[in-house]
Symmetry: D2
Subunit: 383 residues, 4 copies
Amino acid sequence: MRKICVVVTARASYSRIRTVLTAICAHPFLELQLVITSSALLDRFGNIIPMLEKDRFEVSAKIANLLDVEDRTASAKTTGLAAIELATFFGNHRPDIVVTIADRFETIATAITAVNMNIPLAHIQGGEITGNVDDRIRNSVTQLADIHFTATETARQRIISMGIPAEKVHYTGCPSIDLIHERRREAFNPYAIYGGVGAMPDLIGPYLIVVQHPVTTEACHSRWQIENTLKAVEILQIPSLWFWPNADPGTFGTSEGINVFRERGNKAPIHFFRNMESGHFIQLLRKCACLVGNSSVGIREGSSLGLPVVNIGSRQRGRERGPNVIDTRPETAAIASAVQQQLAHGPYTPTHVYGNGYAGEAIATHLASVPLIIKKHCNLTSS
Amino acid sequence: MRKICVVVTARASYSRIRTVLTAICAHPFLELQLVITSSALLDRFGNIIPMLEKDRFEVSAKIANLLDVEDRTASAKTTGLAAIELATFFGNHRPDIVVTIADRFETIATAITAVNMNIPLAHIQGGEITGNVDDRIRNSVTQLADIHFTATETARQRIISMGIPAEKVHYTGCPSIDLIHERRREAFNPYAIYGGVGAMPDLIGPYLIVVQHPVTTEACHSRWQIENTLKAVEILQIPSLWFWPNADPGTFGTSEGINVFRERGNKAPIHFFRNMESGHFIQLLRKCACLVGNSSVGIREGSSLGLPVVNIGSRQRGRERGPNVIDTRPETAAIASAVQQQLAHGPYTPTHVYGNGYAGEAIATHLASVPLIIKKHCNLTSS
Amino acid sequence: MRKICVVVTARASYSRIRTVLTAICAHPFLELQLVITSSALLDRFGNIIPMLEKDRFEVSAKIANLLDVEDRTASAKTTGLAAIELATFFGNHRPDIVVTIADRFETIATAITAVNMNIPLAHIQGGEITGNVDDRIRNSVTQLADIHFTATETARQRIISMGIPAEKVHYTGCPSIDLIHERRREAFNPYAIYGGVGAMPDLIGPYLIVVQHPVTTEACHSRWQIENTLKAVEILQIPSLWFWPNADPGTFGTSEGINVFRERGNKAPIHFFRNMESGHFIQLLRKCACLVGNSSVGIREGSSLGLPVVNIGSRQRGRERGPNVIDTRPETAAIASAVQQQLAHGPYTPTHVYGNGYAGEAIATHLASVPLIIKKHCNLTSS
Amino acid sequence: MRKICVVVTARASYSRIRTVLTAICAHPFLELQLVITSSALLDRFGNIIPMLEKDRFEVSAKIANLLDVEDRTASAKTTGLAAIELATFFGNHRPDIVVTIADRFETIATAITAVNMNIPLAHIQGGEITGNVDDRIRNSVTQLADIHFTATETARQRIISMGIPAEKVHYTGCPSIDLIHERRREAFNPYAIYGGVGAMPDLIGPYLIVVQHPVTTEACHSRWQIENTLKAVEILQIPSLWFWPNADPGTFGTSEGINVFRERGNKAPIHFFRNMESGHFIQLLRKCACLVGNSSVGIREGSSLGLPVVNIGSRQRGRERGPNVIDTRPETAAIASAVQQQLAHGPYTPTHVYGNGYAGEAIATHLASVPLIIKKHCNLTSS
């Protein structure tokens, strides 16, 4: 049995990795060690523990490490704490392979700790380009990793061109796309299940979904950026479901912008959710008239669904995209106009650049069979 | 005035960076912030504080972070602690550029903290290949850095081929080579100045210098590897100056090998030093008949000096080298034979692959003039 | 010159220590090292950096260490981080005496670090009883401290009865009382200076001040406890100035209670402030008809001012108090009734159990003259 | 089932707690969570993991946290790291009671973390006096603890006099004394089993056992203090078994003193051990002519055995002792003379001040039955 330790640091990463977890648990030669940390443990950023319980994954350890984020030292200290505590977990539970996901700042803590402890490291979603500081983190993790699972063929080529041997880089597609291909669920009432605050517009006609995170390199601009999107949606007066931002630098500006907007007594038909189980989220996406904001969901899942997307600002710059995306600057008029253009266009033809729905199984199969050339823990104390 | 924060984590790095520090201090537009951490603070690995005092560099902060190294978690936790405490230093002292050096595991803490705090990061000695885990750390830091100063032209090309824009990568040569070109010092008695233990062989005739560190990916082999080198030198019966290893994983095996060898009552004319000021070390190198072990000094400084070198094992695999190096496996007979071959050959013609002696000044000039495209700290709390 | 390092971890502690800082700075033989950490750095709990700038105190270091507080590990990790980072500060700046204040959970990090580093520790406000977990922290710090400055004579006796030698325990009074005796300031408009949200009732007639923190041992009750106070004040319909709670366990419940109350569209004449400079706060206290909540201000400053106080719940249980305090359970009817009783009574005769207004100077004088029987740092590395 | 988490930080503490662990495991209503940390994980200070395996205790987690000890920040940072990582363990494993032992600096990390997390804390061996910084740590932990198990009746009275309610303080005797009463083991050859270095004197005639730790408040004197003891034993020329010191501040001086003594080529019949399983150690104690040094073993176990003891210096000052102890200053002549006096006297009549051999069972019984007045974890996130 190979012990596979997956470290999940954020709600968004859980959606990206869920079918991998399922495939690891189902695999006869793999044993899952699941570590949850950072914003994935906090209610206000989307605590995933209840989702894990519902999905029947057993949590091996919770590591609370998120510092209060008003200060620029927060990410660095959060990363440092993760490195320290993951070392203890890896030392006590001795995984054969550690899996880290994508490009959030905490992922490098998982990566560097695995490398420091001589444990083979698998990285999911390397080789992409988003045009901000995440690129550095992602490429840095790529250089640390032993095994690479990419979401697109282009990403695979890019990793190889960075000097990584081709046999270590596998194009499996993005596991989040697997969810698109899962059996559809029954209809549900999101207000009843997920609470949240604000108006409760009827979702029978066209509605928007808005997901806008702070841009980490533009943290001090997060307040007016979110305000411009809020104004655009207010002007449009279309029913909207708005999701809370990630715990990145700048998140206070984003949150405060939303809070002040709400207190000011807006009349727009917007409902605000803290978070949502990914199956439910996808179901809402399917019927959504347009996705607005800067989440990668629009570009990844959006391409498979043919979903009209208005992508705001620099956060997804450089990410491969299908024809379903219109990019705009973070300005009220530009956003409102792009949304109207997408509403006029309606659904696009799906494309499959991000995979065909079997990424989870493909990754588990590789994890079970990849030769572990880095030797196992040797008994240092007796050497 | 630009504030340049240089983080030094090991005795070896100080030798690599000294002429850069001098050039920063001498530059009218630069102000030096010098942070000393990790093994550079510990007597048994070569505390550099007395050297800094002698060289008249003011230390801005000492950050003790090295964990006890019997356990594989040590490097990871040391890295995590460095990330946490460097964040506080950077937050309080607000450097304009942070400089990190080479490829030790702690260098990535400096790098990731600078990136997390949106401070431009300069990396010295990226783009090299040594064939072990250090390659990953080095390349990972390259992906995080904003400005790159390489020791060789080949290294510069390699960084560019990894996807880094050419205008950010500067071939300056290795600052350690600058020391070779400094004015020669007076003769000195190393036993009187540096103490140490063991025989005190006369250094008028040919002598060896031995520097052998544990190989981090072969930590559990460090004991027999050092024993084979000890046996080879014992067989040769040539006067030898032996330097203590770095605080890497496996260092206990290396240290214990040396201690047991000494207690066993060896008769070889070997003197063991904890550490030595780099100017003195270079002076000993100049007159040395052959350098033995796995230090990069043999390959870098050795090429500029035309010094005969016997390079043992995998630690320097892949590093560019001049004709002065013979590589051997870590076996007693192979080592002894290679040393005899080098003694028979004598000095080589110097080559200048690692620079022409002006690296320190070149780096300082770039640090003063490079456009800082990453914007300065914005006031997050008021956003 | 003796270097005196004062570590301030919360807005409330700054008010408690301000006249001590002034007296240290004014003393010819003392030099102040001021370290700010924990919630004292965060806007939403009352960032004291702007107050320090206004009061012209220079900050030696800011140490951000507060973890996100949804989880019970937060206080413990915040304490651990403080211990680690204070060690670096003390090691680099070598204070002669470290000063810690009162009984918040972070104060023990200051204390244990000073003791571990063999630096004499002074404790302000030991020997009191409040009837909750703070008692343990406070008494634990008392056992670690070398010098004790108490707010009351009873507290001094209590410390001596715990086995501390009487010559180490000094009754100086509480420095917060010094502020009461400072020259009165001009009238000011709190809404204009401190912003905040909610109604802006006229303060010419009688008004309440409300300060209610979560009780750390009753963290999961903080939500309904704050709701009962909110309801009581709503029923009373008296103009009220409400101050935001500390960052203690349970603070999310308290905050959420306030936020939901506000969103529900209450009609009570309440204004909510994040924080206030202590001089201004005291000026509001002087004219206040009744202080409501569980802050120690009611008991300490309140006794010197003869201020009517309604003290709710268990947080101040056991603290010495004058006749000006009525204690109630955290129930709406009981609170409302007690407030009405105090309004009917009006101001009380001041008592001076917490000192006569010269605590700051007395403490500085002791710090300058106390024999430092614990020897200074010896050079361990050369031993 | 109550989950009892015992945190062991040093070899010495394991001997003190072993019969408690056995009794917890044997108790039908208790479940043991065993956490090993600090010097208890390091070979050179007596790694207890092999002993635990031999004694068939399952380790729940190992937490490596010891920093390199050349620097005065080490203890503080080690304590901070322990606080951080124990919080994660307690959060994940939710013990009903946490048990901490005696007075080493790391014990306060266990204590403060339990208190910060609202978990009842039991303290073993509070209320004693040893006359150094350990007193502060011990009394500080006493103030934090909910349940107290003392080694002597005097210690119980002392805790009560510090203000702790009598019903929370139980005189159970010291668990280390239980080992004295265990069934005697067969004869064994300590050199064969435990290795070590130096002479291997015959143990049929009279022999000494030497255990001398650095005194934490006299860390810079540890080198000459150990040298004086070494000289005294060298002068006496009596067969001696010498045990390695704890990882306290000053330990480098102690270790270096021993190493230099050995390298100097001493001719004394001394054997040096790193560590020894406590059952074996006691067996050697029984037949020992005199115990020399500053370990508490001489005073505790020594009194039950009637063992002649020469207690050097200030480390045990204030600890209750039987008539079997002669105290001396750390001077060569005084030590040698006191040993000769004890050899002339021979064995003493045993006294039972430290208990009757049933401490482990008594403590387990209390842990199973004590009312847990501090309420269990409440679900903060939903409050």
